[in-house]
Symmetry: C2
Subunit: 79 residues, 2 copies
Amino acid sequence: MKATVLVRPKAGILDPQGQAVESSLRQLGFSVDGARVGRVVDLEVEATDAEQARAEIERMCEELLANPLIESYEIELDA
Amino acid sequence: MKATVLVRPKAGILDPQGQAVESSLRQLGFSVDGARVGRVVDLEVEATDAEQARAEIERMCEELLANPLIESYEIELDA
């Protein structure tokens, strides 16, 4: 089963990469009011149903893909 | 206007970060058949309508957010 995980810095957490992107975009002449940078992880997991896949991916996020202290994650299962 | 840009390594392009994630997940005991890692950029752009915002963000992708030679991008405008 294919899934996409979006990992983002939580609100209020400093995001130097996002600040760099915002400032570079402004220097290039773009009108931006904010930029935050996170990661997208596309996964192919072995699971019999969507519920099991989601539970498995949640564990992957807690153990490896995200740092729950400073990052939030969102799991999208492909139909 | 808020927008989300997903930047991913194109198919066939080597993705060492994805390989590392896949191998680490396996070592943790997860059943994964593949992992690819890209970036998610959340932007707040000044634009009068969706069409203008999309065109502007496409230019940002070509000029800064993605490397069109090896990465593909996907733009999602928040309603």
